[in-house]
């Protein structure tokens, strides 16, 4: 059975500068793939490439169909949700409206209501802030809102860009706990970009190490975690 997301020979960049020089990676249905690497290695660019935010070369197949070159909104409508860097929250709108936007492309009204309730259960703090402007939330709450918004798309694949970025350790723990829950309960595949390699490898089952736009190490997350030389030379812990 082919993977949920198959990426082959992915090249991309911004204008004349190339950032990715031919990446191959997979995300399995119900699995977590982590993209690791230093700043500027091309992790964020890889996510943008998958959701069609930049021009790409190479193959991107989702559920067996090519999505390369499609518009971002069309890719979202296929069931790929993306929590971008900077979270992409609609700051001027309320928490409720952010929720409604998360489910914008869905037509199954009753289901959406059920998913709202599920998100309230997962993120009780968002329910308390229901009518508040998203811009007034704390960093952790905003990250939760971003994840909730993405989940409300009822995605088959979730792209997460640095969910721990700029958050206090306790909140990071909370968010990773939620991601475990997503993996168990929603059955969606997750493509995770993370600076915190230790946490990411704990969660992931597959991992790729990027260096200046190339994959230098790939394999099972558990194995990479055990491999001291990789940890020393690439992950720095």
């Amino acid at each position: 059975m082919p993977a949920l997301l198959e990426v082959r020979g992915l090249k991309a960049g911004y204008g004349p500068t190339h950032v990715l020089h031919g990446l191959d990676f997979d995300v399995d249905a119900g699995g977590v793939t982590a993209l690791l690497g230093a700043n500027g290695a091309g992790k964020t660019t890889s996510l943008r490439a998958v959701s069609g935010m930049i021009r790409t070369e190479g193959e991107i197949r989702f559920q067996g169909e090519s999505i390369a070159g499609q518009a971002t909104e069309a890719i979202a409508q296929r069931g790929i949700a993306h929590v971008p860097d900077g979270r992409g929250t609609f700051m001027e709108l309320t928490v409720e409206e952010n929720f409604r936007l998360g489910a914008y492309v869905r037509t199954d009204k009753a289901d959406v209501q059920r998913d709202f309730e599920r998100m309230w259960e997962w993120f009780p703090r968002l329910r308390q802030r229901w009518r508040q402007q998203a811009g007034t939330l704390s960093g952790g709450e905003q990250q939760m809102l971003a994840i909730a918004r993405a989940l409300l798309l009822k995605p088959r694949l979730l792209l997460l860009d640095e969910p721990s970025f700029g958050l206090a350790p306790l909140i990071v723990q909370e968010i990773f706990a939620i991601m475990r829950r997503i993996r168990e309960e929603s059955g969606a595949g997750i493509l995770l970009v993370e600076q915190n390699a230790n946490l990411a490898l704990e969660l992931a089952d597959r991992a790729y190490l990027l260096e200046t736009g190339r994959i230098v190490v790939s394999g099972l997350a558990a194995e990479i975690r055990q491999d001291e030389s990789i940890r020393r030379s690439y992950l720095g812990y």
Partner: protein, 290 residues
């Protein structure tokens, strides 16, 4: 005292027109951060279309709604054809395109319909004086139409899914795409709506100022002033600003500067707002990005 009351009521009636055009400007500004210098010309063209329909024997209200529909289509087409290709160009290009649009629409209107001033009908007539003669039937009708339009727009943006999608596309196009919203479509819809609102304003004001190809120039200036006064990124504020400017204009015209300097009053309001409170009364202060 009756004089003053009448001036205020008349001010509210014209203020409604300014509020509508200001709202049209703000709708486009919010979505694209462009100021549509051709908004007035677009409204004038719409009004001429309505005039043509009415003179051809189409009943007023049928012509009214047909014009709104036609204007909507024209507005959306303009966005698709003229603005889409330059959406990432520098501001100078946008200003240039708007000026080109102003020239094209303004002159096309004169070319097609002629430059002579025309009488435009009002659907609001009354045999007896209203409120003791304080207010004309047309003023009352205009105010009512404006309020209904503003209310509809408010409900649309606040409570419908499409309205929410348009707001999301305006505030944060990148994230809007990520949740599956077709931002390009929302922009075209926004332009269509703005054109439709402008058309209503044109049809409401034409019976008062008479219809000719330059009819909206001064009104556009007042709408600018109203939008800035209320906050150009705040639709509600712009509407209030439009009403405020209408009353202010009428009072200034009646008691301070006379009618010859009406445009200058608008200019002074614009400059004062920009100098004293650039974000407007209800706008957010936006820090410029470095």
């Amino acid at each position: 005292m009756d004089g003053l009351a009448h001036q205020i009521i008349a001010g509210i009636a014209t203020g409604g027109i300014y509020a509508s055009v200001a709202l049209a400007l703000v709708m486009i500004y919010q979505a694209t951060h462009h100021i549509n210098f051709a908004q007035g010309e677009m409204a004038t063209l719409s009004t001429f279309i309505a005039w043509y329909l009415v003179t051809e024997g189409v009943p007023y209200w049928l012509a009214f709604f047909a014009t709104i529909g036609i204007s909507f289509v024209i507005g959306a087409l303009i966005e698709r054809i003229l603005l889409r290709p330059v959406q990432n160009a520098p501001p100078l290009t946008h200003v240039g395109v708007f000026i080109g649009l102003l020239l094209i629409i303004g002159n096309a209107t004169g070319w097609i319909f002629g430059y002579t001033t025309k009488v435009f009908p009002t659907p609001f007539v009354s045999d007896r004086p209203l409120m003791g003669g304080l207010v004309s039937a047309h003023e009352l009708g205009t105010t009512a139409v404006t309020l209904v339009v503003l209310m509809l727009i408010f409900v649309f943006f606040r409570y419908t899914k499409l309205g929410l999608g348009m707001r999301a596309a305006a505030y944060n196009p990148r994230s809007a795409r990520l949740v599956g919203i077709n931002v390009g479509m929302m922009l075209a819809l926004g332009w269509g709506l703005a054109a439709a609102v402008g058309a209503i304003a044109g049809m409401m004001v034409a019976p008062v100022v008479f219809l000719d190809p330059t009819m909206m120039l001064g009104i556009l200036l007042y709408a600018f002033a109203g939008a800035l006064l209320g906050g150009i990124d705040n639709p509600g504020g712009a509407v209030l600003g439009g009403f405020a400017v209408g009353v202010l204009e009428n009072l200034a015209g009646a008691y301070v500067v006379g009618t010859e300097l009406k445009l200058t009053v608008a200019l002074i309001i614009i400059i004062s707002v920009l100098l004293v409170r650039p974000a407007g009364l209800f706008g957010r202060v936006v820090l410029s990005r470095v």
